[in-house]
């Protein structure tokens, strides 16, 4: 028990320090420093907002679509950061892993936490856009964090899995980049689900079985507008078990694989 406690204490100390370091290094040497965490998404969203409102008319019929799209972009960016940073986290900390033994999962969790911090900054900017667009917040918005948590758990599960593969096969990064692109266009990030429904309702249902598409769509639904139809609306509550199952299985399998292989990291990196 004592041993367990001290091990847990060590993980916590490391986690804290790794997250702080990550955050400090991110804006190292820039004049505005941490302010960029807010300015960068603000300008990027400004450009996208402009483009989507005035040129692309993809989601023209959807209420508050530009903001919904930005929110999707932010959530996708978060998922992408958790998975790709997590994937490279073990390999890039190789020098430390070769010299001292410590719980390796902390590295993955710390890199996810950094992504989460980044997400929070982005969400502040999103809130500004929501306010500007005149979106009304309803109490149901309080559920949104749970969907973000779902996305986070899915991302961490994949990060565990990918980081192990990346240690043994450096091709993993390139393969994941391709899969990630496919997932991006398959997750209704830059187009509304209604566009897919117009083509085929069946296709829209299949698309929303993907946990990334489902969680992003659910966050849009509760935060921005109920015109963003969710999986449960298109099918039934029971179908939620599919994306939830994918998330749980991915996480458990990823964590199991990671735990199994982490003692071999030092000699294989």
């Amino acid at each position: 028990m004592d041993n367990f406690k001290s091990k847990y204490r060590y993980s916590l100390i490391l986690f804290r320090e790794l997250v702080i370091t990550d955050f400090k290094i991110r804006y190292q040497g820039s004049a505005l420093g941490y302010l960029w965490s807010l300015l960068r998404p603000l300008f990027m969203f400004g450009i996208l907002y402009f483009v989507f409102v005035h040129f692309l008319r993809i989601g023209a019929g959807v209420e508050y679509w530009p903001v919904a799209m930005l929110l999707g972009m932010v959530l996708w960016g978060f998922f992408s950061e958790v998975t790709s940073n997590g994937m490279n986290a073990i390999v890039s900390r190789g020098d430390v892993i070769r010299k001292i033994n410590f719980p390796k999962y902390v590295i993955i969790l710390a890199s996810s936490a950094s992504a989460l911090i980044n997400l929070l900054f982005n969400l502040i900017v999103i809130a500004v856009f929501m306010w500007v667009s005149g979106v009304d917040l309803h109490p149901v918005a309080l559920i949104a964090p749970f969907y973000v948590l779902e996305l986070l758990i899915f991302g961490i599960g994949l990060a565990f899995l990918l980081s192990v593969l990346q240690v043994y096969f450096r091709d993993t990064a390139y393969i994941w980049e391709i899969i990630s692109q496919a997932l991006f266009y398959g997750s209704a990030v830059i187009y509304p689900v209604s566009v897919v429904i117009d083509q085929s309702a069946f296709l829209a249902k299949v698309l929303l079985l993907n946990p990334v598409a489902q969680s992003i769509q659910d966050v849009r639904h509760v935060l921005i507008s109920d015109v963003n139809l969710t999986l449960t609306q298109l099918t039934s509550v029971w179908w939620m078990l599919v994306p939830a199952g994918i998330v749980v299985v991915t996480f458990i399998f990823g964590a199991w694989l990671f735990k199994k292989h982490s003692p071999n990291f030092a000699e294989n990196i």
Partner: protein, 409 residues
């Protein structure tokens, strides 16, 4: 586990598969699956069935030449590597120092790196806060502490890392001798720290190839060679064995001693080392017969030499620094006795010197030069080698009555 044991290593083996080309891409992974025989794999033993116990409060040395498996063993004890078979039991907290400043990031300030490095050693922020001032003071960095690490000299970086490392308050410490790099002042600090650990009865595992350090700090030691424990036990036993092994490694005949013969245009040279009992040897231990080193040199001149000459022997340490010099010109009248050398002349020099040397290996350089230094006829660096071991760091006490006799035939 017995409560007086700090680290117990039982039957530990480790091998590394060394593919000539490491499989890091899926393509080569797949290709290899389809090859029936994987020719690329070459299994190399790093450790073979290694077992030993380290008692609490013991200063334990692990010695071995490069590639003997020391580092692998170190990493297995520190659970950085997993052994293929066998077990390692560690009783208490353990901090390995395979390298100083693990996790140091050049983009962060000295202060931030202190916190990061300390976290890896298991210190919470609060603990670091408390000892922060001491760390900075010990590192002698002053106001540099808030500069980015990339602006530090390597010496400053090492000092900072070391200042954090000495704070580690674990039950068992693993130290790599490589830590003691840097300038003399820093080395001194390191060795003071080692000595302090010894005085505080810490359990320490020291990995080294310096016998001097083993003698100075360790209570017991073991020698690794090719991944196997060759000798384990008292420091005296281990140092003797190590020296014998090293001598053998550089020359298989060395244990018995040998005649070093060399030749050049002007002379054929033979040089033989003997102990006080006139037994040919290259290794000198702590016996009474080892207190004398007899060097017999024989030169057969092959060409007429028109100038007056002198013959000298230089004894150098492993760094090439001259420890002592024996020269015929130092002795009154010897230069005249040698006279002008003609083809076919044979000169024998028997010199007997006190073994005043500390532990280590020494090289003998021989030269034949004109008295006016204008001509150098023979200059043979590293002509012979001898090793002194098992004495502790002090060596025999100094009794300067070196003798030299010369016979001209």
């Amino acid at each position: 586990m017995n409560n007086s044991i700090a680290v117990s290593v039982k039957g530990v083996s480790k091998n590394f598969s060394l593919p000539q080309e490491r499989i890091t891409s899926i393509k080569s992974g797949i290709v290899n699956v389809f090859r029936k025989k994987n020719k690329n794999l070459e299994v190399q033993y790093a450790l073979k069935n290694v077992s030993f116990d380290i008692k609490k409060g013991e200063f334990f040395g692990i010695v071995g030449r490069n590639g003997s498996g020391k580092s692998t063993l170190l990493k297995i004890i520190s659970s950085i590597y997993k052994p293929d078979s066998g077990t390692v039991l560690v009783n208490g907290s353990l901090v390995p120092f395979i390298e100083l400043g693990v996790g140091f990031n050049p983009e962060l300030s000295g202060r931030e790196n202190v916190y990061l490095n300390s976290a890896l050693l298991g210190f919470s922020k609060k603990q670091v806060d408390e000892m922060y001032d001491d760390i900075v003071e010990f590192a002698e960095l002053g106001k540099f502490i808030d500069q980015k690490l990339k602006n530090y000299s390597s010496g400053m970086q090492v000092r900072l890392a070391f200042s954090v490392a000495v704070r580690a308050n674990s039950d068992i410490l693993i130290l790599d001798e490589i830590l003691a790099v840097g300038d003399e002042a820093f080395q001194k600090k390191c060795y003071e720290y080692f000595a302090q650990l010894k005085n505080n009865n810490k359990t320490v595992i020291l990995v080294t190839h310096s016998m001097e350090n083993v003698t100075r700090f360790c209570d017991r030691a073991l020698i690794l060679d090719n991944g196997k424990v060759v000798t384990m036990g008292s420091v005296k036993r281990v140092t003797e064995e190590y020296t014998r092994q090293n001598a053998q490694a550089s020359d298989p005949k060395a244990l018995k001693g040998k005649k070093s013969s060399k030749t050049n245009d002007f002379a054929d040279i033979k040089l033989v080392l003997k102990n006080g009992n006139n037994k040919i040897t290259e290794a000198f231990y702590d016996g009474i017969e080892d207190r004398i080193i007899n060097i017999d040199t024989e030169l057969v001149i092959k060409k007429d030499i028109s100038k007056k000459v002198f013959i000298s022997l230089l004894i150098k340490n492993i760094n090439g620094e001259v420890i002592t010099r024996i020269a015929t010109e130092d002795i009154q009248g010897e230069t005249e006795r040698i006279g002008y050398l003609k083809r076919g002349d044979k000169i024998k020099i028997k010199s007997s010197i006190q073994n005043i040397f500390g532990e280590g290996s020494y090289y003998i350089a021989l030269s034949l030069k004109s008295v006016d230094r204008a001509e150098s006829y023979v200059e043979s660096e590293d002509h012979a080698k001898f090793t002194v071991a098992g004495l502790g760091t002090n060596g025999f006490s100094l009794r300067p009555d070196n003798k030299i006799t010369l016979i001209k035939e």
